[in-house]
């Protein structure tokens, strides 16, 4: 299996799986099973195991790395990169090469996890606070979050925010008619699910008095038609009735037009795509959301703030985390848990690299180009930034003619086309102008442009970080400086339970930046995107087979959105059968908090089902809850294997009990890495599931996004899975999807799908199955070695765990006073990222090693955990005081052991080289000491601190 008798690693699977044949054999011996297959078959209940493969698989035999690249090349050539002037939220942009190479293509950035351990995440936290500063500056609002999934979902979140913050009793939300079409589509579906009434009005032309009662309104600024108008009086009319005003604003336009904040908007949302992030056929990009002062505690998503460390120095961290869905569960007001960190970092660095003068110059060049095109082509637009309209005899004919000449223009209506210009056109306008002259004819047009009253007078990007790194050398070094402060997979293992931090292979990543994948507009004509449709079709087919479902939608751009899409599909199914009263969603106590938050946003009522002491669903309580809600039962959401990392043996009884009562079964696929190739959700009663391609299928975590959360379902739910009004095709594995869209782009974040495609292609079914076995082996090996030091909670049959194990620290804490936090921070001194803390059980650590770590790295981790237990015992024995010991002092910075007198009862060597001399060569030095969480939440500060603060 591993490279034949020579022991050489030849197949890609041999590179992806960390342990070689000898290590695998040694680990199997430790856990007491003869083979990977025997181990998994002992752990997974026999009743749900797939029958032996019969050969009828859609997944081709494993390709080599070279072969996979060649096939991707062939697919790429079927995409046609025409010059897009479509606009509608997606624009041509120039990614500075220094950012592409040092961020997008740099594993130090893309293999990091969400910065839950802030002491080892200071680099990307600084980049994110820079992003927040860019957004706050340009929108003229007080506080921006660390990014949203995309612009349209950000508008939905802004609507929900307005509803909870508004003093108005109205249930009506007013939507500007001149909004991007994809945003209209999302708003309609999402508002309907939670019972909000939408009213679409032409806000640029109505009298403010005609607004009617509402709790909020949203305007596009500039409008989808390109119109630049002053919404101040409409905003004022909204405020008079206690409603909130949302502006969906173009960040680049804001460099030259008055900011939404200055016009009175309470909330601004939008996309940072045109700040150097390729269109990528729709994503991923970083959306943004900013609020005026007083609304910061209402912000959805992640928010970076400044606190201080144990030495009193400023340090960054995620702030106000208790607002988030995983804490609030069914009381959550948003199910957004992730951000688009990698893309937000890119956009922020675009602003750092260009600075305020550069950004203004880019915006001015785009605008000047638009003025010239308007004048020479005879535009009917009179007030615009970058988007122009033209009257034509036949819009379809004009669009087709331009397409034939390599330029994509947008049909506004039967006799109107429009174009949006960008920095790539501004750099070289002549060829584009020549094509448009041919299509539209030359004629003198209006020379008006921006209304003088809306010219931006306020400054932005004044902080030194935006005025210091404008040469490529300086920029490269700034990116290196920040990357060096962080701990990512390029340093060592990140054993975060439920996060599946496996290898993101270089070959998998290769195609992401190819122009054929990165350069396409999401609404490009179907003829231009045949390669993408083929790749997406392959992936949908493979994922459907692997999960035992009939169809797959890749549209959801995060796991949480996959959950929402799946639940909305269940809701749509019940309603199509006249079962409108079926709105109860059963969720086990042990479920991830996002499940409950998603259910609420799908218009469901959450009823909690008890779990037993092993973390399994309590069958008795489940039956009682089903009985109590028999007529209203909509769905049960379960995670398999459970959030406790256990294969529940009763799963078939659970799913059939729900079905008997007319309910649907949602299986959360977060833990698919423990099942792939051995069992399929659809095979044991699942009707619908979401997967996390950023877990099981190798899309890197990017430091906290992007993600892809496909939703897979049985055929009866297909009509209710996410469709999209602008999709090139709504057919997925032969079934039409017609539900409400959940992402701005028809295929969500397609530019990262080549990663998962390449993974499946290079592993083949055998390799995927082997990876499952190796992941289960790694978790059981860690459990076996640590069991005598930390009790392992919740094991299934034969004492086996699935792909992760929960180490119980509570007894050790009670005996020694050492907390889970202390252990997590001390692991940094040993050179590790901590496991997941206090989830799903407070006072525990959940370890998921994944198949990609070899035995040497697992042993290094286990040895560190054993050493830390011994250190804790010395605290418990009174050898070290409770408040002055290596655990309480962790993590130790270089400065903390060098500067001044050393007055601690343990040595400097023990502080920073606890694993002995061998550690010196690979030492990771944390840049700050332990961060005070409460201080940062009490003293909220979410923009760039002045440089003096770090002196």
């Amino acid at each position: 299996m591993t490279g034949g008798t020579s022991g050489a690693r030849t197949a890609f699977a041999d590179r992806h799986v960390g342990a070689d044949a000898a290590q695998t054999a040694a680990m199997l011996e430790r856990v007491g099973h003869p083979s990977l297959e025997a181990l998994v078959c002992a752990a997974v209940p026999a009743s749900i195991q797939l029958p032996a493969a019969t050969g009828g698989t859609s997944i081709p035999a494993a390709a080599s790395e070279r072969q996979a690249i060649a096939e991707l090349r062939a697919i790429a050539t079927k995409n046609m990169v025409n010059r897009s002037l479509i606009g509608q939220g997606y624009y041509g942009t120039i990614t500075p090469a220094v950012i592409q190479r040092n961020v997008l293509e740099n594993p130090s950035w893309y293999t990091a996890y969400t910065p839950y351990q802030p002491e080892i995440s200071q680099g990307r936290l600084e980049a994110l606070i820079n992003f927040q500063q860019v957004v706050a500056d340009l929108t003229g609002l007080a506080t921006a979050n660390a990014s949203m999934l995309d612009e349209s979902t950000a508008v939905v979140e802004a609507m929900l925010l307005a509803r909870r913050a508004s003093k108005s009793a109205s249930n009506r939300f007013v939507v500007d008619a001149d909004l991007f079409p994809q945003t209209h589509a999302l708003l309609a579906g999402r508002a309907e699910a939670v019972g909000i009434e939408l009213a679409v009005l032409p806000l640029a032309t109505i009298e403010p008095a005609a607004l009617g009662e509402c709790f909020g309104l949203v305007v596009q600024y500039p409008g989808a038609s390109g119109l630049v108008w002053d919404p101040a009086s409409v905003i004022a009319a909204a405020h008079e009735q206690g409603a909130l005003a949302v502006a969906a604003a173009d960040l680049l336009a804001l460099a030259v037009i008055t900011s939404p904040g200055e016009l009175g908007a309470d909330i601004a949302v939008g996309s940072s795509q045109r700040f150097g992030v390729p269109m990528g056929f729709g994503g991923p990009h970083a959306g943004y959301l900013a609020v005026r002062a007083g609304l910061e505690r209402q912000l959805p998503g992640r928010l970076v703030g400044v606190s201080q460390d144990a030495a009193g120095k400023p340090a960054y961290r995620l702030t106000l985390q208790t607002r988030e869905q995983h804490i609030r569960r069914e009381k959550a007001t948003s199910n957004i848990c992730t951000a688009q960190v990698l893309l937000a970092v890119m956009a922020s660095m675009y602003a750092v690299y260009h600075g305020p003068r550069g950004i203004r110059a880019i915006a001015q060049n785009v605008h000047e180009t638009a003025k010239r095109f308007a004048a020479e082509l005879g535009s009917t637009s009179e007030s615009f930034f970058d988007t122009l309209r033209f009257e034509v005899e036949d819009a379809d004919a004009a669009v087709a003619a331009a397409h034939g000449l390599g330029v994509l223009i947008w049909k506004a209506d039967a006799r109107t086309v429009q174009i949006s210009l960008d920095e790539t056109v501004a750099e070289d306008p002549e060829p584009v102008l020549a094509v448009l002259t041919q299509v539209l004819g030359a004629s003198a047009g209006a020379s008006a442009a921006l209304p003088a009253a809306l010219e931006r007078t306020s400054g932005y990007l004044t902080h030194p970080v935006f005025n210091s790194y404008h040469s490529e050398t300086a920029m490269m070094r700034y990116l290196k400086l920040l990357a060096d402060r962080d701990y990512a997979l390029d340093r060592g293992m990140i054993p975060l339970g439920s996060c599946t931090m496996k290898l993101n292979a270089a070959t998998e990543m290769a195609a992401v930046t190819w122009p054929e994948f990165s350069g396409l507009h999401p609404f490009a004509p179907a003829a231009d995107v045949q390669g993408y449709l083929e790749l997406i079709g392959d992936l949908e087919t493979w994922l459907a087979e692997l999960t035992g479902y009939d169809t797959v939608s890749l549209q959801p751009n995060a796991g949480s959105q996959g959950e929402l899409a799946g639940l909305l599909a269940i809701r749509g199914y019940h309603r199509s059968r006249g079962d409108e009263q079926r709105n109860v969603c059963l969720i086990p106590q042990s479920a991830h908090g996002t499940n409950a938050a998603s259910a609420v946003l799908a218009g469901m009522r959450v009823v909690v089902v008890a779990t037993d002491q092993n973390g399994n669903v309590d069958l008795g309580d489940l039956r009682a809850k089903i009985e109590a809600h028999r007529d209203e039962l909509s769905a049960l959401m379960i995670t398999y294997p459970s959030t406790h990392g256990v294969y529940e043996h009763d799963v078939l009884e659970i799913t059939s009990a729900v079905h008997e009562a007319g309910g649907q079964v949602y299986v959360d696929g977060a833990n698919l890495n423990a099942l792939l190739g051995y069992a399929a959700f659809g095979g044991f009663g699942g009707d619908v599931s979401h997967l996390n391609l950023h877990k099981t299928f190798c899309i890197p975590h990017g430091g906290g996004g992007p993600g892809v959360g496909p939703v897979a379902a049985k055929a009866h739910l297909a009509p209710f899975l996410p469709g999209h009004p602008l999709a090139q095709s709504n057919e997925h594995v032969g079934l039409e999807h017609g539900g409400t869209p959940v992402s701005a782009a028809p295929f969500g974040s397609p530019s990262i799908l080549p990663i998962s495609w390449a993974y499946v292609r290079m592993m083949g079914l055998d390799g995927l199955t082997r990876a499952t076995g190796a992941a289960v082996l790694a978790a059981n090996y860690v459990a076996a070695r640590l069991r005598d030091h930390y009790p392992v909670l919740y094991a299934g049959e034969g004492g086996l765990v699935a792909h992760e194990c929960i180490l119980d620290v509570r007894t050790l804490s009670a005996e020694t006073g050492v907390s889970v936090d202390d252990i997590a921070k001390r692991l940094v001194d040993y050179g590790f990222h901590a496991p997941t803390m206090s989830f799903p059980v407070a006072g525990t650590l959940m370890v998921e090693p994944t198949e990609s770590e070899d035995q040497g790295e697992l042993d290094r981790f286990v040895d560190a955990m054993i050493a830390i237990e011994q250190e804790a015992r010395r605290v418990g024995d009174g050898e070290w005081p409770a408040d002055d010991n290596p655990l309480a002092g962790a993590p130790h910075t270089a400065e903390s052991v060098i500067a001044g007198e050393w007055g601690h009862p343990y040595s400097r060597e023990l502080a920073v080289y606890p694993a002995g001399a061998a550690q010196a060569r690979a030492k990771y030095w944390p840049p700050v000491r332990r961060i005070d969480q409460a201080w940062g939440d009490r003293n909220l500060f979410c923009s760039c601190p002045p440089p003096e603060a770090f002196a």
């Binding site: 985390q321 804490i327 009381k331 409460a934 939440d937």
Partner: protein, 123 residues
């Protein structure tokens, strides 16, 4: 930790001090310890009417969000601005400077005495 004998208590871990027709409400020492570092407190507006057992505010810590229930029907006559400005008072002095709201009431519901509350928290 001992619950002061002169106070009444609720099962939601709040204490109530009755003085005439005004009840002062806070959360118990047990509750603040369970919440951990309190970082944000949201209280109802002075003059607003509250109904017993309904949520009228929030107490947010670094690890969770606790809800403030009105122990009694009535009208809020005072909200503790000092706690809004310095939420840590809830941790440092839950029975004193960390009080949350004062409610004018007409009828007193059944409340736990200190012994009954200690019984509740010792389980």
């Amino acid at each position: 930790m001992t619950a002061p004998a002169d106070l009444k208590y609720t099962e939601e871990h709040e204490w109530v001090l009755i003085e005439g027709d005004v009840a002062t409400v806070g959360i118990t020492d047990y509750a603040q310890a369970a919440l951990g570092d309190v970082v944000f407190v949201e209280l109802p507006a002075v003059g607003s009417a509250v109904a017993a057992s309904t949520v009228v505010g929030e107490i947010e810590s670094t690890k969770s969000v606790g809800e403030l229930f009105a122990p009694i029907d009535g009208e809020v006559v005072e909200a503790n601005q000092a706690v809004v400005d310095s939420p840590e008072l809830v941790n440092s002095d839950p029975y004193g400077a960390g009080w949350l709201i004062k409610v004018r009431f007409t009828e007193l519901p059944a409340l736990l005495d200190a012994a009954a509350y200690e019984e509740l928290t010792s389980k």
